[in-house]
């Protein structure tokens, strides 16, 4: 049986987001703008993808639409009801499934109905229908811990569908699954959608996987970070079912890649990728091993110093939002340059790739101190002091003037691991102190 009520095909916007701005953080100084000037509308009968790198605020936007958070500024209207009323017609599927481990599959699916006060018999009937629809028959009395990841997400889907929402919100629903399982689930969901067997009118999904977005969505909104905003809206007109190897499909994926790496013209070329300037730059914690590995594979054939990012990503089996921070860190340290979809090793990068351990360290130290202002700052402070020691608290406080506590911690961790590798300073975690000590 199906759960479908004949959807009324009107052109009214199901979701209207106007000029939304959201700020996280405490006090005045350390505010982090995660969303700025975001407009979005969702119509009937479409799957819209919010695509962007981690930290671009797309999950925040989804939570604002679901009513879980209230944006600092702007309006969110869901079917003409303000977004902070949880009784409206949206349901959410979570990245981590968010199943209650102490409830059975059936009880988990019934959760939303129970909250609405649906009578027990009716509840059971509808839950079982949803379980059948999503292909979970036979698992009704199982507990989530007995299920595989794919089956768990099916429970998450059934739980969302059973409350008959007009809009299904999905927050990276397949990213915690292995590749094969994710593909099966995507196909099953698309089948149900195309055959009109789900009681929903639209799907809004967050993803960082470009191919997934192109595979599933009718419309893709590309997000850029710092602050999170929409940089592009792409209509996908390819007919379903879409084939990954179709040239038109590849072209679209490549195009989106280029847009995601593109810098706003106004920003200076060199420091562009990371938010903040000088020592206030938010740095990603990328291991030096990863950086070295990337430079090595770039320098080797068939790349010989340059490669297209999408090609590199599929070769290294990395998602776009895993690959880009690595590439941008190399760019920050002038070991590589990014232009559109291309990444190219600089002379220093090429030298690094073929050098021995000690030479590599020297080269890395030199670039770290020249191009990462925070590393240079720490080194300078340590050089100036007669004790050649400084508490890490001091730098953390300085960073927190520019960014949230969380980001400050991550940034400092990144600099610690780079500094340790380059042997430009030492850090002792137990006493939380930087020094010039050489334990050797």
């Amino acid at each position: 049986m199906t759960l479908t009520e004949t959807p009324t095909r009107d052109d009214v916007n199901l979701v209207e987001v106007r000029k939304v701005r959201h700020v996280y953080g405490k006090g005045a100084g350390a505010n982090l703008v995660v969303l700025d000037q975001v407009d979005l509308s969702l119509k009937s009968n479409e799957i819209v993808g919010l695509l962007g790198r981690s930290g671009s605020g797309k999950s925040t936007l989804l939570r604002a639409i679901s009513g879980l958070i209230r944006p600092t500024e702007g309006t969110v209207m869901v079917r003409d009801a303000p977004g902070d009323d949880t009784a409206h017609g949206v349901a959410m599927v979570f990245q981590s499934f968010a199943l209650f481990p102490w409830l059975t599959v059936l009880q988990n699916v019934e959760l939303g109905l129970e909250a609405q006060g649906v009578a027990a018999d009716e509840r059971r009937k509808r839950a079982i229908a949803a379980i059948d629809l999503i292909g979970l028959d036979g698992f009704e009395t199982a507990y989530p811990k007995e299920l595989s990841g794919g089956m768990r997400q099916r429970v998450g889907l059934a739980r969302a569908l059973v409350v008959q929402p007009a809009i299904l919100l999905m927050d990276e629903p397949f990213s915690a699954l292995d590749v094969l399982t994710a593909e099966t689930l995507r196909t099953d969901l698309l089948d149900l959608w195309c055959e009109g067997r789900m009681p929903i009118r639209s799907i809004l999904m967050v993803t960082h996987n470009i191919e997934e977005a192109v595979l599933m969505c009718d419309r893709i909104l590309v997000f850029a970070s710092n602050p999170g905003h929409i940089i592009a809206e792409i209509k996908v007109d390819l007919p379903q079912p879409r084939k990954r190897l179709d040239p038109a499909f590849r072209a679209l994926v490549d195009d989106i890649y280029a847009r995601m790496t593109a810098r706003p013209v106004a920003q200076p070329v060199r420091d562009g990728a990371f938010p903040g300037m000088g020592i206030g730059m938010v740095l990603p914690h990328i291991s030096t091993n990863t950086l070295a590995g990337m430079m090595e594979s770039l320098s080797q054939p068939p790349h010989d110093g340059k490669a297209e990012l999408p090609t590199l990503a599929s070769e290294l089996q990395l998602e776009a939002d895993e690959l880009l921070p690595i590439a941008e860190t190399l760019q920050l340290m002038r070991f590589a340059e990014i232009e559109g979809r291309m990444i190219r090793l600089t002379t220093a990068g090429k030298r690094y790739a073929v050098a021995e351990v000690d030479a590599r360290k020297q080269l890395f130290a030199q670039h770290l101190l020249t191009y990462v202002p925070l590393a240079a700052h720490i080194r300078r402070v340590l050089d100036d002091r007669t004790s050649h020691q400084a508490p890490a608290r001091r730098f953390r406080d300085e960073l927190e003037d520019f960014m949230s506590e969380d980001y400050a911690e991550k940034t400092l961790n990144a600099v610690v691991s780079w500094g340790r590798y380059a042997e430009v300073f030492a850090y002792r975690e137990d006493v939380d102190v930087f020094s010039l000590d050489d334990p050797g």
Partner: protein, 583 residues
């Protein structure tokens, strides 16, 4: 601080003997008898408690063996009544602290202090208070005893529940909010299930801990009033007074039976049942088992009688729908901050007022030299506690590691160690004192071990738990590189068990302070044996009805306990959490 379960409880002692295939209807019959028997016992006990006080003094504690089971029932009943109150307190107060920031500001520090205050010292005040509340009735004294047990149980349970509420998994919280669960549904579907495993463990620890107090609080002398409630504690007090060794041994045996019974019939099934609430997405490797739980699950008839209850509840008409509570619009941050400060100021003023009242009360009769004397005694007891913890550690850490590394032994010893921790050591005091008197030993030294007699087991079973979860790869690496002897202890065993050891030692230390009140003065056959210390200071003041000195003693002891917790145990905890985590 709430206790962390060092492991899932190991398989039960009796489980092995009892795990036979039982026909379902026989299971029904057995359970029915058990439940009916329990009901009769509770009714009998409740009837007893309502009697007037005069009747109580007319029928003094008799050392007739036939009375002992009845006494045991009454004592157990008191503990479970207190437990019910503790649970109620936990749900109300911990929930309030977790939901309201202003309440949190007061409740959490208060709980922290309350669990450091020596409960036994309070008996004086509470007995007077409750007897005044219900004059001339046994109920007043009962209430005082139950309150004493409650104060030994409630704090760590509340802490555990509060911590669980504060660490609800973010995605489940979002799911609950997204599907619009009402606060009531949210409590039953999300908060209580998530908190259950930690709460069950803390409830068991509380039960164990409170045996000690039940024994001490049933027979109490405050000034000229001596009350002995019928129960094992009073039996023991009477036996001690008369130097009746046989009666003491009987009491010890009864106590052991009671502890094993409620462990097997109540806690073990609950732990087995609570296993499904553990927040893990993978099935557990070695789930706890309980023969009684299996028995209950195998029943044929009873589920038909009781099983329909939840369904009936479900079918009741739903509560009238209340208007949905909208999250209030966030206040202007400046205004919110100002309100916080105001609240904080009010709380601080209240605290200062309270402190001033205590100082004035104590200051009416006592002068500075008295305070200094109390502190001096405090130092003596402090030295005792530290030395005893050190000695117990030297003895039990190696033994615990040895046992923990051998699964067969762990399975055998762990239940015994947990049983010993639950066993109220003060029951054994009279015997030890008999020996001290007979051998003419110095009480200042030889009374001291009594303080740790009951609490040392916490060190042992925590160390065993720590050693038994030492990762196999670490052990294998150590053996491949021939890490041996002192280096093995320094680099492998000690860091591995350290977080567990700190938990055990902290519990043991807190327990020893409390125990000092009954361990530093012990009567045996009209002989009083006394060691100089803060415990005996409080105990003496209590029996003399010298309220200001009792208050001073408690204040000084609380000060010492908090000082030790802050300057020794908490830093060690932090160190363990930072540096020695195995993940």
């Amino acid at each position: 601080m709430a206790f962390q379960s060092p492991e899932r409880m190991s398989p039960a002692l009796l489980a092995r003997f009892a795990r036979r295939r039982l026909a379902p209807n026989r299971a029904d019959l057995m359970t029915l008898f058990l439940i009916a028997g329990l009901a009769v016992l509770i009714a009998h006990g409740a009837q007893q408690m309502g009697r007037p006080l005069s009747q109580l003094s007319a029928a003094p504690i008799s050392l007739d063996i036939a009375r002992l089971p009845g006494y045991a029932v009454l004592t157990t009943l008191r503990m479970f009544v207190a437990l019910a109150f503790s649970l109620l307190f936990t749900f109300v107060v911990a929930t309030l602290a977790a939901k309201s920031r202003k309440a949190e500001l007061v409740i959490i520090p208060a709980l922290d202090i309350l669990q450091s205050v020596p409960v036994l010292g309070f008996l004086t005040f509470t007995v007077t208070f409750f007897m005044g509340l219900v004059p001339g009735q046994e109920l007043g004294v009962e209430a005082a005893a139950i309150f004493a047990i409650f104060t030994a149980q409630a704090w760590n349970m509340a802490f555990s529940f509060y911590q669980s509420l504060k660490t609800l998994p973010g995605d489940l919280d979002e799911a609950a909010r997204q599907f619009g669960l009402s606060p009531w549904k949210r409590f039953w579907r999300l908060e209580l299930p998530f908190a259950t495993p930690a709460l069950v463990w803390n409830t068991m620890m509380s039960m164990s801990g409170s045996w000690f107090f039940v024994v001490a609080s049933e027979a109490i002398t405050v000034g000229k009033t001596t009350v002995a409630l019928p129960g094992i504690g009073s039996w023991l007090a009477a036996a001690t007074d008369r130097g009746d060794t046989r009666a003491v041994v009987w009491a010890v045996a009864t106590m052991a039976v009671v502890i094993i019974l409620y462990d097997q019939l109540l806690f073990r099934p609950i732990v087995t049942w609570a296993d499904k609430f553990r927040f893990e997405q993978t099935a557990s490797q070695d789930p706890p088992t309980s023969w009684f739980y299996d028995l209950l699950m195998r029943m044929r008839l009873l589920p038909r009688l009781f099983g329909s209850v939840p369904r009936t509840l479900d079918q009741l008409p739903p509560l009238p729908k209340l208007p949905r509570i909208r999250p209030p619009k966030p206040l202007n941050p400046l205004l919110a901050q100002a309100l916080d400060w105001l609240w904080l100021a009010a709380v601080i003023l209240g605290a200062i007022g309270g402190a001033w009242l205590v100082v004035r009360y104590v200051g009416e009769t006592l002068r500075w030299p008295d305070v200094m004397r109390a502190f001096g005694y405090g130092v003596l007891t402090l030295i005792r506690v530290l030395v005893l913890i050190a000695i117990a550690s030297v003895i039990w850490v190696p033994i615990g590691v040895w046992i923990g590394l051998r699964p067969v032994w762990t399975e055998r010893v762990q239940p015994v160690a947990q049983f010993l921790a639950a066993f109220p050591a003060n029951v054994l005091f009279p015997i030890a004192v008999g020996a001290i008197v007979a051998l003419r030993l110095s009480p200042d030294i030889w009374l001291s071990p009594l303080m740790i007699l009951g609490t040392q087991w916490y060190i042992l079973f925590n160390v065993i738990a720590g050693a038994s979860v030492l990762p196999t790869d670490l052990k294998e690496a150590a053996s491949i590189f021939h890490v041996r002897r002192w280096q093995w202890w320094r680099d492998v065993a000690l860091p591995g068990i350290f977080p567990y050891y700190v938990t055990g030692a902290l519990t043991a230390s807190g327990g020893s302070w409390n125990a000092s009140i009954v361990a530093e003065v012990v009567n045996w056959n009209h002989t009083k044996v006394e060691a100089a210390g803060l415990g005996s200071y409080i105990a003496d003041a209590t029996s003399n009805g010298d309220y200001p000195r009792v208050a001073l003693g408690i204040a000084v002891m609380s000060f010492f306990i908090i000082l030790i917790n802050r300057s020794l145990w908490r830093p060690l905890y932090g160190f363990a959490a930072r540096r020695l985590r195995l993940d």
